[in-house]
């Protein structure tokens, strides 16, 4: 018996049919690794249905902070053969598979030779001895805890903590199921300390394990956001649910609208009373909202809009990530109006940029769009506590009765140098004004006079010019002095970080940039490209929308490589490294530097 290997970076998948409870097993496992001080990253891969369809929950626990899954699965818990057939090839060569053999022995064709398989008839045990199939989750965790060399007390404590919201009558059989798992492990020679792995204990300060949607909703609320309207849609629904749960106790309202058209217009109505308002959806829902977003741009209404992008076109693949709405967010809608598009790369960015977006909307009185993708929206990871004390709610240019009384005349759309007009919200004595999406004069009365039109169009657009570079900066990775670079947003962030680090270990210096402001394209982004001989743009869409956007903003297309994926799965770190090195100009420049990959 060889000595257990200390595992400092574990990527695991629990897979079965939707409703099997794969997420439960992963949540207990994350609790265990969290207590050992590991950083966590969790993700899920489900079909768009309540029960059934292959569903997988995945996690990575690592001593180093990581923003994506590892290249392969060290551990696969499979509740049926289909889970093996679909995911077996993703198991590491030295990985372990725990297989629910209730329906017969495993066909291991898809597994590498050296993969260790433990067959347990979980489902059969759970039904026979515990009268309920679902208890197989806790049963399997018993076996997992032995694989990882965790003593019973510690493992059981994690289980009961992770399931603490269950009523006692359900918790108790789960604990029994867990002990069945231990008994089984004993029977197959997996006594404590006999497993292949052990888990380190490292010091890490307490952190948050949160996904992007929740973090974004939290940031909006902390920035004084008090109205949200949305219509349920994967993968944006968590924002609505979070705010429905947490806004009312803080004097706010989150409303489920009858459709996305209603949602965006409700938010516009709320914004007009001076309330900080947001609406959100995912790709096809966002496309329905465009009429309202354009209107907010024209009528100069402060509004935050979230697009948790999923795979398109049309209803596409609801549960899969993509970044194919960039054109829609930046250019969509009729006419021209000022807008800002921000792009968070993880939960911390989601919180911070929701605060920024809420303030920018008030400051500029225009739509501010937050571009998420399914992975950023729904993957959770450990991050430091939010810096709540640093959150500031900027008031914007408001007029009260005293301010109004000093003015000879007041109209809503006063022409100003900054393009932003002083604003008296309804209820302000003496401030009666007109808001409209039509072209209008300074009073808000419809006007098509050529000089008025020109002045108003220019006034609106001045908002962006006046802002200059006062927009969120990007995140840098790797060696800023490198001749070659990599650039991507959203879900690429964590994997780019790891790919750059791996290249660096191989002696290849790469500069990485995750722009947090997508539109207007900041000088920072263009300067990053101009400084290098080759920058590969990494994105999840067919046409290379981000690369095209950068070229449109003045980046030299000859220097811009493109790595794209659009099959519904994120890049893995090795996959991205290989893709970068297959970019001829990237590889040439690396070779010129005298470095052999």
């Amino acid at each position: 018996m060889s000595k257990p290997k200390t595992i400092i970076d574990l990527t695991a998948m629990v897979a079965g049919q939707g409703g099997d409870g794969s997420l439960t097993v992963i949540s207990i496992l994350t609790e265990l690794l969290a207590r050992r001080g590991y950083h966590l990253f969790t993700s899920r891969n489900v079909a768009s249905r309540i029960k059934g369809g292959l569903a997988a929950a995945t996690m990575r626990g690592s001593v180093a902070r990581r923003g994506c899954l590892g290249d392969s699965f060290d551990l696969l818990v499979a509740f049926d053969q289909e889970a093996i057939d679909l995911n077996g090839h993703l198991v590491a060569d030295d990985g372990v598979v725990i297989y629910d053999a209730s329906d017969g022995p495993l066909d291991r064709t898809s597994l590498a030779e050296a993969v260790k398989v433990i067959e347990v008839p979980f489902g059969r045990y759970a039904v026979r001895d515990l009268r309920r199939d679902l208890f197989k989750n806790s049963l399997s965790f018993g076996v997992i805890s032995r694989l990882l060399g965790i003593a019973q007390d510690e493992a059981q404590d994690c289980l009961t903590h992770a399931l603490r919201r269950l009523p006692p009558r359900l918790l108790e059989p789960n604990v029994r199921a867990f002990r069945f798992g231990l008994d089984f492990a004993d029977e197959v020679g997996l006594g404590l300390g006999q497993g292949p792995w052990c888990v380190d204990r490292v010091a890490r300060e307490e952190q948050l394990l949160i996904n992007g949607n929740d973090a974004l909703a939290f940031g909006f609320m902390a920035a004084g956001g008090r109205f949200y309207a949305g219509y349920p849609i994967t993968p944006a629904t968590e924002i609505l649910e979070f705010l429905q749960k947490h806004l009312p106790a803080r004097g706010g309202i989150a409303l489920q609208a009858e459709d996305e058209l209603a949602a965006v217009n409700m938010a516009i109505g709320a914004a007009m009373t001076g309330t900080r308002a947001m609406t959100g959806s995912s790709s096809p829902g966002y496309s329905l909202m465009q009429e309202g977003i354009v209107h907010a741009g024209s009528a100069e209404i402060p509004l935050v809009i979230v697009d948790s992008q999923r795979s398109g076109p049309s209803t596409g693949m609801p549960t899969k990530p993509e970044q194919s709405d960039l054109d829609m967010m930046v250019f969509g809608g009729n006419g021209e109006f000022p807008r800002i598009v921000l792009a968070p790369g993880g939960p911390k960015d989601c919180f911070d940029l929701a605060v920024t977006a809420t303030n920018l909307a008030q400051r500029l009185q225009c739509p501010v769009i937050i571009a998420l993708d399914q992975a950023v929206a729904q993957d959770a990871r450990t991050i430091p506590y939010f810096d709540l004390e640093a959150v500031e709610a900027e008031p914007g240019v408001r007029l009260d009765a005293a301010g109004l009384s000093k003015m000879a005349a007041y109209g809503r759309y006063q022409i100003t140098d900054s393009g932003v007009s002083p604003w008296a919200v309804p209820g302000t004595p003496g401030g009666m004004n007109l808001i409209t999406g039509n072209e209008r004069n300074e009073w808000g009365l419809v006007s098509t006079k050529p000089d008025v039109r020109q002045a108003m169009a220019e006034k609106r657009m001045r908002k962006i010019a006046a802002l200059g570079d006062d927009l969120p900066l990007g995140q840098r990775f790797g060696d800023d002095g490198a001749e070659v670079g990599i650039l991507g947003i959203g879900m690429q962030t964590g994997v780019m970080d790891e790919a750059v680090a791996r290249l660096q270990v191989s002696g290849i210096a790469v500069a990485g940039l995750q722009p947090r402001t997508l539109w207007p394209v900041p000088q920072e982004t263009l300067a990053f490209i101009a400084k290098r001989r080759r920058v590969v743009v990494v994105e999840h869409n067919v046409e290379g929308q981000l690369r095209r956007l950068l070229m449109g903003a003045g980046a030299n297309g000859d220097r811009l490589g493109s790595v794209r994926k659009y099959n519904g799965t994120p890049f893995g770190p090795s996959e991205l490294v290989a893709a970068l090195l297959s970019d001829p100009a990237f590889a040439d420049n690396v070779a010129e530097m005298g470095i052999v990959a």
């Binding site: 394990l209 008090r226 947490h246 004097g251 217009n265 109505g269 009373t273 709540l388 009384s405 808001i435």
Partner: protein
Amino acid sequence: MTRTFDHTNTIWCAGCGHFGVRNTLVSALRDLEVPPHETMVLAGIGCSGTIQNNVEAYGYHALHGRVLPAALGVALTNPHLTIIAAGGDGDGYAIGAGHLVHTFKRNPAMVYLLMNNAVYGLTKGQDSPTAAPSHEAAEQGMDGISLGLALPGTTFLARAFTGAPEQMDRLMRAALIHSQQGRGFAFLEILSPCVTYNDTYADWAGRVVDLEADDRYDRFDRAKAFGRVHEVSEGGGIPTGLVFEGDGTDMAARIMVKGTVAPAHQPTDVDAHLDGYRDLMAEYAV
């Protein structure tokens, strides 16, 4: 006094029913002593969608069909305001019909003036959802009052006619009071003829039937109201008056914790809820 926009210029054709609607609204607001700065008029697209320019109040010109969700956003975040949503039959019964159904269901405190002229006037005369069925029409006309009667939760359904100004004045006040008292959504359809593209003054004057003129009419009985509306319509008449009145509490009062400051007046600084945010953050701690 700070000068604000000039609300005297209208775009309507001489003889348009909308003048009567606007004048009745202005006099009702004045008589009920609603301060202009606490009034908001939100209107849709169409000839009716300019009425906010002609009332001394805060005004909003909505997207076509979307005036009700926008007005709901206002009503929920600042219930202190007196809110009048307005629009035409195209706005409320065609492009915005879905929102009307859900606004009935929600019962927010606001008045909705649906100015029905049974034609698309601003685009020069196309059929509207309430256009009279003719041999070339492929569709039946639509009746918002019957629609409202069919939905549980409606609390105020009325129809006026600009050719009967006294009744319109009475219904306008009743609608405003219903909303102000926090009883909910006051739906007032006003037959407001388009003299240019569909001059129905004479036709409608001959067909309107004031249900309340009958002492035995019970406007609190939904089923009987429905029966009577059906009966009058089948006979070629157009039922008017306060057709139905029900008990209800407006949406803001139902969803807001009692005694809470309205969202529009909530403090925005993080300190106001810092402890609560810390507790919530702790729920994510690992």
